[in-house]
């Protein structure tokens, strides 16, 4: 069980980081989402894995560690807020640069085209 779980976290982290390192805003946002999934699962697992141990008093005999669950809940909400913000920022980038490159490449591309046009003439 633990190995499978560890591999899940590893995969999510690796996929997330690879996407975060891309050059366009959209994959970066997707990567951040994947990364936060991995991180949340990791944080959750700091309380170790429990089956049928919902931390609802009276529902079971052995309770899973509730603290990491609360922390992850907070982390999810904050992560959601942050994702929303960065998505909108990506939109602003698109609006301001007419391009979704993370470095806002509009001008360079435009000048490239202009240069080509001039040399063509």
């Amino acid at each position: 069980m633990e190995l499978a779980y560890a591999l899940i976290i590893g995969t999510l982290t690796a996929s997330g980081i690879y996407l975060v390192l891309r050059a366009r805003t959209f994959p970066v946002v997707v990567g951040l989402t994947l990364l936060s999934y991995g991180v949340n699962l990791f944080l959750f697992a700091t309380g170790r894995l429990a089956t049928g141990g919902q931390p609802i008093i009276g529902s079971t005999e052995q309770y899973a560690d509730p603290l990491p669950q609360a922390l992850v809940l907070t982390a999810i909400v904050i992560g959601f807020a942050m994702t929303a913000f960065v998505v909108v920022l990506a939109l602003r980038n698109q609006a301001d640069n007419e391009d979704d490159h993370v470095d806002g490449r509009k001008r360079e591309i435009h000048t490239d085209i202009e240069e080509k046009e001039e040399s063509g003439r």
Partner: protein, 89 residues
């Protein structure tokens, strides 16, 4: 006997999940993928209910309800995107 039936059912639903994933990856068109995802949501509901039966708890029932709601909204949003581009306008 219920336990055996439960295990068989879980196995069948798990297999169904795999088939869904197959369609999701295979496509070939975007609506196929959304359809696969939608089905996956419904199968997830089944899995959660089965988990509740297996664990003898009803604490996951609301989670199942939530999957139903969220799966629907997700599907609608995706399908609308394909058709209309702007999901909210």
């Amino acid at each position: 006997m219920i336990t055996t039936a439960l295990h068989i059912t879980i196995a069948m639903v798990t297999l169904a999940v795999l088939l869904n994933v197959y369609r999701l990856i295979k496509g070939p068109d975007a609506p196929d993928r959304i359809l696969a995802l939608d089905t996956l949501y419904v199968n997830a509901i089944a899995l959660i209910i089965l988990l509740g039966i297996a664990l003898g708890t009803r604490l996951y029932m609301e989670a199942a309800l939530l999957i139903a709601v969220m799966g629907f909204v997700g599907t609608v949003a995706m399908a609308k995107y394909l058709k209309r581009g702007s999901v909210i306008e």
